[in-house]
Amino acid sequence: MSYIPIKRPKFSLLDKIYVVELVKGLIITFKHLALSLMGKSRGKKDFSNKGVGICMQFPEERWDARLPEYYRGAPTLVRGEDGRERCVSCQLCEFICPARAITITPGEVDPNSSCQKQEKAPAKFEIDMLRCIYCGMCQEACPEQAIFLSKEYLITLTDRKKAIRDKETLYRLGGMRKGLVNKWNQYK
């Protein structure tokens, strides 16, 4: 097996004595210290935070406006544009969930619903936020585009029971999405 030896830099005597290089290093770190104390750290302009360094002071300053499109927060259920439940209770998300946070009890489609073509709908849909690891597997697995990860990241619970989000809460948080699934409507 052939290999390529890495070329190591040759050190001069000055480098080997180490003192000069040490002083250079100290100057670099001191520059960082002075700049961050003056509030002029490198890259601060793009960051627009207040105070020392380029660190956001969390509860006062927040990332919310800067969260990327692909941010993975709490999972939510969404409704279609006609207001129907997109979830058809296929339970794929429940099976794929690595943390077993999702529990679905399949049931009948609501007779008052505008769309009766699908056979099932969730009677109960619960996500345990203490188990959820925000991996996004449910969103990937869903064939109906019914479950999406929102940008909600501040989930502070005072009670274990409050950690379990039921169907109503999930739909309220998810809201409505347009397009994407035309399986059940007039276009099909």
Partner: protein
């Protein structure tokens, strides 16, 4: 009242009681100072680390004002009342400044409370002692780490002396004639703590950490002892109080700008003394187990090193011992090389002729300032240099420093003999 005064007079006129009482007072002050500095140096470490890495560091922990409510104050926002009392409108610049300092919620300490709270947390944490350790040595080890730096501090002078009507008080706990030797001897004991911790943990990585600590401390002890010999040749005494007095009169070791310090000999001496300083400081770093010499606890190859199996307050003792060693190391460097308590430029004698107590106060403050500056240097180096490799550390100790220090002694002797 007179009876008490007379009793006090009699007591203090007795040499033994005078010595005992003044020593006890100095002891308490010194001990409190060191413990305060341990806490302070943890805070300095974390804040400076933050600044160097472009972040604020621990800046939150303050004294929350809801505690006032707990203690019976019914008002929810004391700040508003205070502003109202002084007639300052709530939209004024002062009010906004107070809000920015978060005075409406807490008394800011700029994070100084953080190490205290951490200490409290460690104190309250669950103590787990693994079943396979050797109990006695396991318990003794943290004490052996925390104890020696405290004891070594006894000979460090933090101010000059004061003449009272009962006698003269020298401002160090024990005015021994073997100052540096005492410090080396006692701080060398702390290696037993690390070794015992590593061995009694009865587990692989702590054992390796303990071994490393032993080897490293012993190797650097040699170079450390030899590197101060040029200094002692110049001062001609081993008493730390007289060493500092000499520096106050004739210029600091590394800043000979007044008194006899302006002679040619002292300036030529700067070369061997500079080498001494470099080697001594490096050895102090190694002795205190600080980066770049923290071989004994490098996480990457030894998990946590010798204190892997420790928890709760025993771990905190190791932690505090490490910082105490750093504080004492800095104090020794300041005492030997940077003039100790001396204010410099002949200000000591002038102040002492005005008022000795004032001089002592100023000198103590000066000592604290120098100590803080050197602790900052310690931290600064830690966040600049990466850790050395194990064989490099050993090589540096035995193959470079030992030879250099011995050569340095001869160089000093030559300078002292030939340059007048």
């Amino acid at each position: 009242m007179d009876a008490i005064c007379n009793w006090w007079n009699d007591l203090m006129s007795n040499d033994i009681w005078f010595y005992l009482l003044t020593t006890a007072v100095k002891l308490v002050i010194m001990f409190a100072l060191i413990l305060a500095f341990v806490v302070l140096s943890v805070w300095i470490e974390r804040r400076v680390a933050g600044w160097i890495q472009d972040r604020p560091g621990p800046n939150r922990a303050g004294l929350p004002l809801f505690l006032l409510q707990r203690f019976g104050s019914k008002e929810k926002q004391p700040l508003k009342d205070v502003l109202h009392f002084f007639g300052i409108p709530e939209t004024s610049r002062i009010a906004r400044l107070c809000t920015w300092l978060r005075l409406d919620r807490e008394i800011p300490t700029f994070g100084l409370m953080q190490p205290c709270l951490d200490g409290g947390k460690l104190f309250l944490k669950q103590e787990t002692t693994p079943s396979y350790v050797r109990k006695l040595y396991f318990i003794v080890a943290p004490m052996l780490v925390l104890g020696p730096p405290m004891v070594a501090a006894a000979v460090l002078p933090f101010a000059s002396c004061v003449d009272t009507i009962y006698g003269s008080i020298s401002m160090c706990v024990a005015n021994l004639d073997i100052g540096p030797l005492w410090i080396f001897a006692i701080s060398g004991l702390s290696v037993y703590g690390l070794t015992l911790a590593g061995w009694s943990s009865n587990s692989k990585y702590p054992f390796l950490g303990g071994l490393r600590a032993t080897a490293q401390l012993i190797s650097y002890e040699v170079a450390m002892g030899l590197s101060v010999i040029p200094l002692l040749m110049m001062f001609g005494t081993l008493n730390l109080q007289s060493i500092v007095q000499y520096q106050a009169d004739n210029g600091w070791t590394l800043l000979p700008l007044w008194g006899e310090g302006l002679s040619l000999q002292r300036w030529v001496m700067m070369l061997p003394l500079g080498i001494s300083f470099l080697i001594f400081v490096t050895c102090v770093f190694a002795e205190a187990n600080r980066t770049p010499f923290d071989m004994a606890e490098c996480e990457t190859d030894l998990v946590g090193g010798y204190h892997t199996e420790y928890s709760s307050m025993k771990f905190a003792s190791f932690f505090m011992g490490e910082y105490a060693a750093m504080v004492i190391g800095s104090a020794v460097v300041v005492t030997l090389f940077l003039g100790g308590w001396s204010i410099g430029f002949g200000a000591d004698a002038a102040l002492a002729s005005y008022s000795q107590w004032l001089a002592v106060l100023c000198q103590t403050l000066m000592f604290i300032v120098k100590l803080l500056a050197f602790i900052f240097f310690f931290v600064w180096v830690r966040w600049t240099l990466p850790r050395f490799r194990w064989d490099q550390v050993m090589k540096l100790g035995w193959l470079v420093f030992l030879e250099l220090t011995v050569a340095n002694i001869f160089l000093t002797a030559a300078v002292l003999y030939f340059v007048k």
